[in-house]
């Protein structure tokens, strides 16, 4: 079964070389004339004020949490989908319960307004 991964390893190698060349080309081929003005970050012409890395709305964090939970759900659905024909009705019941519980979670989040962006 391991020889399946031969192609993957080779593709990883080729892709790393190709993308590495693409990213690094400018470093090697391009000119280098750094200057204080040129190296300023771009803020539409004004000199930047204050630190760039501010804090963010907690909503983004809630989205990431929901992503994790539903990602795990999707990950459970994949193995279920391939053996579903063999499992039959019990398999369907199992998954309906599982999805039902998680849908309750989604409904809760929805109701709490964590998905509302204003």
């Amino acid at each position: 079964m391991l020889d399946q991964y031969l192609g993957v390893i080779i593709t990883f190698g080729f892709a790393a070389v190709i993308v590495g060349i693409m990213c690094g080309a400018s470093m090697i081929l391009g000119v280098h004339h750094p200057g204080p003005v040129k190296q300023q970050v771009f803020e539409c012409g004004n000199p930047p004020t204050g630190p760039a890395r501010g804090r963010f709305s907690v909503r983004f964090y809630l989205v990431a949490i929901l992503f994790i939970v539903f990602d795990v759900e999707v990950v459970f659905l994949y193995p279920w989908a391939i053996v579903f024909r063999r499992l039959g009705v019990p398999g369907l019941v199992e998954m309906v319960v599982f999805i039902g519980v998680l849908a309750a979670g989604l409904a809760y989040v929805w109701k709490k307004g964590a998905l509302a962006w204003d």
Binding site: M1, L2, Y5, P51, R53, G54, R55, F56, V58, F60, Y61, L62, A64, I65, L66, F67, I68, V69, D71, V72, E73, V75, F76, Y78, P79, W80, I82, V83, R86, L87, G91, E94, V97, F98, V101, L102, A104, G105, L106, Y108, V109, K112, A114
Partner: protein, 167 residues
């Protein structure tokens, strides 16, 4: 897989794991952990756990670590420790490293002395999607259902904790 491959992978794993622990910048720590998790997925492939390897990358490297990065960026954490390091903790740190080294050496020595018989060649499809799925949905149906409750609790707990009270 040959022992050469194993040692190369193991070295890479240990180096990236050490980077997670010692790097002062949390973002780079997190990226080193992503690398560690990815390399572990490669180990899983060598151990015949193909499905688990894919899930490791999807769930751990692709989801959980994104959450970590989000929080690091959300709280705007920069290189911490510089100030924490000054506070006379040097002795404790050295002690912790020595203790960790002893733990690793002792456990490793213990394991290496156990004469495991060479594992039998796994059956066809071992660790593939079908075999894991069958075990999961037939033998482990109840834990699977309980998992959903755990996730539900996680969602509710998170929303309660993270949302500012009635804002």
């Amino acid at each position: 897989m040959g022992s050469v491959t194993f040692f190369l992978l193991a070295t890479a794993l240990v180096v990236s794991a050490l980077t997670v622990v010692v790097h002062p910048n949390p973002v780079k720590s997190a990226m080193a952990l992503v690398a560690t998790l990815f390399l572990l997925a490669v180990e899983f492939v060598f151990l015949g756990a193909h499905m688990i390897a894919a899930l490791q990358v999807i769930v751990y490297a692709g989801a959980i670590m994104v959450l970590f990065l989000f929080v690091i960026m959300l709280l705007n954490l920069s290189d911490e420790e510089a100030e924490a390091r000054r506070r006379g903790r040097a002795l404790f740190r050295i002690g912790a490293w020595i203790g960790g080294g002893v733990l690793a050496a002792e456990l490793a020595a213990l394991f290496l002395r156990v004469p495991f018989p060479a594992p039998a060649a796994p059956p066809a499809g071992y660790g593939g999607a079908e075999s894991v799925a069958t075990a999961l949905f037939v033998d482990y149906a109840l834990p699977f259902e309980l998992t959903s409750i755990l996730l539900l609790i996680a969602v509710i707990g998170t929303v309660v904790l993270a949302q500012r009270r009635a804002s």
